[in-house]
């Protein structure tokens, strides 16, 4: 069955090329049946790629080691759950996942717009098919997931232990969904430019898809941060790593797009800006995929050197040049008649928010690509670290939080000065209370930047809560409903608006968590023997004793930690380190491979609304090293039961000698609010994305399909 894989991919590629031709021909001649045929080609590709991805998944589930990627990324001891995820731990599999998701999202978009916007859709589907053809071509010619090897090995290498985390199941598909969904705004912006239909139509059509892309990409980033916090053993959630940055850049420009398209819808302004932003976001999404896959920048995600750099670079160049040419050649059509009436208006707030978001994306772009820029300019590769990023992103984030409170309160058009006082009295008071509180607590002098974030956060929360309360009150006055019913129907009837406000609340809380946990964190790296204790952030942490456990895949050595504060017991934490058995007995020896393969941290974590107590352990194997060496030498051909016995004996010796272990202890205030804020923001986005009941009814099918204009 696996042998059918490349044939299916080839058929998909052929169909993609046909679809591009048919769509363009249909669009140019106005022959609707050709454009329809092109659209059906997209559905066909979605079906073909679903089959192809299914075949690959089946090979992983059945541990078919004659397939090269299966042997290199999975094993019989890999649990089925992780075998599914192992498919996208491989470059070949992840590219197939990319194009498969793209085909699904494209089909959905084209299906929903099959009766409207036919003039746009024909060109848009040609662009989407172009994306698909590029990625299908990659999987067919350069990174074939269906490559066969013979003889087939009896056992596979297994999924990298670092990737054995439930997040592996959702983090990559989420990110890739976000990336591929941003191809839809790109395609429709390009189509609008080609056809010069630059009114609000294309903007309205992609709104929900842009929001879905933004939501899934954001969720992917958030999951990645959580994963890093819980798994990588360093206690951070963001490291300004190139690949993290690559996913943040399209998210930021996507956020800008979600705001600026409202200005085009409501006021008919910012046409050129919106088209450029949609195109730029699409390109950044491809750039993100490129960064992960090329290994061009040093990152923990760059999974080895890859040969795909050239084709990707060429593809990005085509997208970039095409976009610039399109926008430049349509600049007359992009000129909008609408002008900003007043500086004190919602559109001005959105415009400033856009500039800040794009500025932020640019700063991150510059810092991320600086190694390449500096190499080109000075000849030496230079890098900038997290402090450099923090210096620029902190003030910009501050402005963003402030705007998230100002924007919703201002009206479109202009807001009178007398109204301003009424709108901002309460939020300003909230900020003032926060300021006084922080000054009294001594936080103001300890970290002014974080304190500033707290103050503007109080302002923004005050403003958004006031807006929601105002709306609820107005509804109550109209309908006489109870407060809760009024609030619910307010949210239901104005999903987009109030969903957006909920997102603001979540986002502000998230940034409060980021500011607090980075400014007021206590971290300590200590070496403790059983019985010894260390003090971190007002807590006493005592190493009570070692722990151990074993199963088929790993040996686990850990510690029992007793956490107390002022003599009062707070928590018992049991961090451990899992040593995954390596297949490489050449390097580590028959027994050594049980202890010297890859290892991961299992945290001892106590999460709370106020603070997290985070602990990780690095056991010291030096005292048993000679037993391991001894066993390697004396039993080079041990069978599995002898191996089991020897490993058990060595673990027992470790437990008896109970040597000092290295601990990383972190007390991090408010870090839980990052995840709480994230969940609230996701909830808000879901509210905004859900079709309003009235709109769902309005979307009755048109009696006759709209005619395609001929060019």
């Amino acid at each position: 069955m696996v042998r059918a894989g490349p044939i299916i991919l080839a058929a998909a590629l052929a169909l993609e090329l046909y679809g591009i031709g048919a769509s363009l021909y249909g669009a140019r001649t106005g022959k609707a049946q050709w454009a329809d045929s092109g659209r059906r080609a997209v559905y066909g590709i979605a079906i073909l790629l679903t089959i192809a991805f299914g075949i690959l998944e089946l090979a992983f589930l059945r541990s078919d080691f004659s397939v090269k990627v299966v042997a290199e990324h999975s094993s019989t001891t890999t649990p089925p759950f992780y075998r599914v995820a192992a498919a996208w731990s491989a470059q070949e599999g992840s590219l197939l996942l990319w194009v498969w998701l793209l085909s699904l999202w494209s089909s959905l978009m084209l299906f929903l717009s099959r009766r409207s916007m036919r003039a746009l859709a024909a060109y848009a589907q040609a662009v989407l098919l172009g994306f698909a053809a590029f990625f299908t071509g990659l999987t067919l010619f350069l990174a074939n997931p269906f490559a066969i090897q013979s003889p087939a090995p009896t056992e596979g290498v297994g999924l990298n232990p670092l990737l054995r985390h439930p997040s592996m199941m959702i983090h990559p598909p989420m990110l890739y969904s976000g990336y591929t969904l941003f191809a839809v705004p790109f395609a429709f912006a390009a189509a609008a430019l080609v056809t010069r239909r630059l009114d609000a139509e294309w903007v309205r059509s992609i709104r929900r898809f842009a929001l879905a892309a933004w939501l899934l990409l954001g969720l992917g980033v958030l999951l990645g941060a959580r994963w890093s916090y819980a798994e990588l053993g360093w206690g951070g959630y963001w490291g300004w790593d190139p690949v993290e940055n690559a996913s943040l850049m399209p998210w930021l420009t996507g956020t800008a797009l979600l705001h600026s398209i409202q200005v085009q819808e409501k006021r008919g302004a910012l046409k050129a800006w919106n088209a450029s932003l949609a195109l730029g976001t699409g390109i950044l999404a491809v750039l993100g995929t490129f960064l992960v896959r090329s290994g061009i920048l040093d990152s923990i995600h760059a999974f080895g050197a890859s040969t795909l750099g050239g084709p990707f670079l060429a593809f990005i160049a085509v997208l970039l040049v095409g976009s610039v040419v399109l926008v430049a050649s349509r600049r007359e059509d992009l000129r909008s008649k609408a002008r900003l009436d007043s500086l004190v208006s919602r559109e001005t707030a959105f415009l400033v928010n856009n500039l800040v978001l794009v500025g932020l994306a640019f700063v991150i772009f510059w810092g991320t690509f600086f190694p390449l820029i500096s190499e080109a300019v000075t000849g030496t590769k230079q890098t900038v670290g997290p402090p450099w990023f923090d210096r620029y992103t902190t003030p910009l984030a501050l402005v963003l939080v402030l705007l998230s409170g100002i924007g919703p309160a201002l009206a479109w058009g202009r807001t009178s000065r007398s109204r301003l006082r009424g709108i901002f009295a309460l939020p300003a008071a909230a900020a003032l209370v926060a300021l006084v509180g922080l000054a009294l607590a001594g936080a103001l002098s300890r970290d002014p930047a974080a304190s500033a974030i707290f103050c503007v956060a109080a302002f923004a929360l005050g403003s958004v809560v006031q807006e929601i309360w105002r709306g609820t009150r107005a509804r109550r006055a109209l309908s006489g409903e109870t407060a809760l019913v009024a609030l619910t129907s307010l949210l239901r009837r104005n999903r987009r608006r109030y969903g957006g406000y909920v997102v603001h609340v979540g986002f502000v809380l998230l940034l409060v968590g980021v500011a607090a946990s980075s400014a007021f964190q206590h971290a300590s790296d200590v070496r403790l023997a059983p019985g010894q204790s260390a003090r971190v952030g007002g807590y006493d942490v005592r190493y009570v004793g070692p722990t151990s456990s074993m199963d088929a895949a790993k040996v686990s050595l850990g510690a029992v930690l007793d956490v107390s504060s002022h003599g009062r017991h707070v928590a018992t934490l049991t961090p451990s380190r899992d040593y995954y058995t390596s297949l490489d007995e050449h390097q580590f020896g028959r027994i050594g491979r049980f202890f010297e393969g890859d290892s991961t941290s299992e945290l001892g974590l106590r999460s709370g609304i106020g603070r997290d107590i985070w602990t990780a352990v690095q056991p010291d194997l030096t005292p048993v090293a000679r037993y391991i060496r001894d066993a390697n030498r004396r039993f080079p051909d041990a069978n599995s039961s002898l191996e089991g016995f020897l490993v058990k004996t060595i673990v027992a010796r470790y437990m008896r000698s109970a040597p000092a272990a290295q601990f990383r202890l972190i007390v991090s205030p408010l870090v839980a609010w990052i995840w709480i804020g994230g969940v609230i923001a996701v909830g808000g986005a879901m509210i905004a994305i859900w079709p309003a009941p009235s709109a769902a009814r309005r979307r009755a099918p048109a009696v006759a399909p709209a005619p395609l204009p001929s060019d």
Partner: protein, 133 residues
Amino acid sequence: MDPGRKRRIRLIAFLSAAVLLAGALVYTTFAGASSAKTPTQLLRTADAGSSYQLTGIVANGSLRRARDSLSFRVRDRAGRASVPVRYSGAVPDPFREGREIIVTVHKAGDGFVGERDSLVTKCPSKFKAARGS
């Protein structure tokens, strides 16, 4: 003020802000960046006081753990030249001998001292399995 002039002023204000930001970006990156170096390059030239991004492989058998720091040697990706590094702070899970790392260091005496929490270990794409043995 007539609207055309107002718009021009806004545009100029915006453009100057953008130019200022861009200038600050260029200046701070070129002034504050640390150069990426291989062990061989560091052995040839390393000034006390400047920091470098050292990229290389943790030499086999060189790792020592002390009470609150690690000592190891970093060697060239392809080659034998190596420099000693003392490091304290967060150690990522994949860190081990034979792995490729990136760490920010400055010269101290004969060796190099790693900046706290600056150690990055590259994810191995897979276990290097020696099959058929």
